[in-house]
Symmetry: C2
């Protein structure tokens, strides 16, 4: 199965146009013809079963034949706050892997030790869409704009809050052991930059009720820490 994406809240019989990239892929690469069936998701939990209406390789039109609701397969809401890495590839890899494994919201952070203070939001959005389609999911994770660490903390949050950092701390347990897998949980996790959160950032997070957690014994790169956290949440809720 090959999934396409269109940001649409459609009804049966609606006709809509794929963007240039998706059109090219559909008509030039997959060589679909008028009347062929195509699967599209709107990233909002719907599968749109469509047929090709026009074969234009720049603006292919599709007609909606059937709508299928696709509820989330996971019973939690995971929001990761993470400082983008100096090397852009590494952060993009995090976005792809987190989406494949299962995440609901991502907030790129600016921290005291941040090396990257500008991000490519449009490009990041494309990576997330592509990973959603590739892993046959129907819910697009929400990607927020770059946010200051202190502002992120001030946003109101419900659920369980964790801050993953590398400073030595006696009571720090593994994220996996701290997690509570009751259905419907909201989980917020802060992942620090290369060079970690500063001691004052860690204290600020604690004052906002973020529980310090470890991600194991090894020193992990930022993007590995992010992927590892997403995996531990997925493993906790599935096992």
């Amino acid at each position: 199965m090959q999934l396409f994406f269109h940001h649409i809240q459609a009804k049966v019989h609606d006709v809509f146009q794929l963007d240039a990239e998706e059109s090219r892929h559909l008509i030039k690469v997959l060589r679909k013809k008028i009347g062929d069936e195509v699967q599209v998701t709107n990233g909002k939990g719907q599968l749109l079963e469509c047929e090709v209406n026009t074969e234009n390789p720049k603006k292919a039109q599709l007609k909606v034949i059937r709508l299928v609701d696709k509820p989330k397969q996971r019973d939690y809401y995971l929001h990761v706050y993470i400082a983008p890495t100096k090397t852009n590839d590494r952060f993009e890899f995090f976005l792809e892997k987190a989406t494949e494994i299962g995440i609901d919201e991502i907030t790129p952070l600016v921290c005291e030790h941040s090396e990257r203070k500008k991000i490519k939001l449009v490009r990041y959005q494309k990576i997330i869409v592509s990973a959603m389609k590739q892993s046959l999911q129907f819910h697009l994770p929400k990607l927020n704009d770059l946010t200051l660490f202190s502002e992120a903390l001030q946003q109101s949050k419900t659920g369980e809050n964790y801050v993953a950092h590398c400073e030595e701390e006696k009571q720090k347990k593994l994220l996996f052991s701290e997690l509570n897998s009751a259905p419907g949980k909201r989980i917020n996790i802060l992942i620090g930059p290369e060079g970690d959160f500063s001691p004052s950032e860690i204290n600020l997070a604690k004052s906002y009720d973020f529980t310090p957690v470890s991600l194991g014994k090894n020193r992990l790169r930022t993007e590995t820490a992010g992927i590892f956290a997403v995996q531990q949440v997925a493993t906790k809720f599935e096992s």
Copy 2:
């Protein structure tokens, strides 16, 4: 702390020479001078505390001052058999992340559906060394040469054997749930190529006592499946 690597079984007072790349990094980038302290690992569980003996940026010499044994921090042996991906970057990312999180042996596989039948062993080895140093570990994972699926199965194996595949199967549980975390365990995991193992490969693996396992509900790319498996083992043994 910054770790250097040299393939050496050294004694105190031994003098040895770093390779060209490590020499350049030590002398040109970090600007170390004669008498400065440097930490080196041999990837065999030893930390060599050294001092700079010559400042040559192509062949820096170091003198061993102290030897510190660094036992593995994990009490299991993990061997992952995995088919390299068509896009080389993705497989290299697996090598880096698996090493960071914790792995002991990697065998690149040739399967029926393999898209890549040639690999860059020297380059892969460098990535593993670099990830070991970066994550401050002292044990270098063993990287084997490309191996046919059927030959990999014929190699004698002790411990627990798992095959992660995407075919629907009734009894298939999550790897994490199947794992037994008794200390000292050897764990062998087969990860299929893009396009999965063929049904006859899955049957062959079962005939060699490999238990089929799932890595969750989403369709994961090969390299994501590999990283996810390594993470599930780490989490099982640490939690």
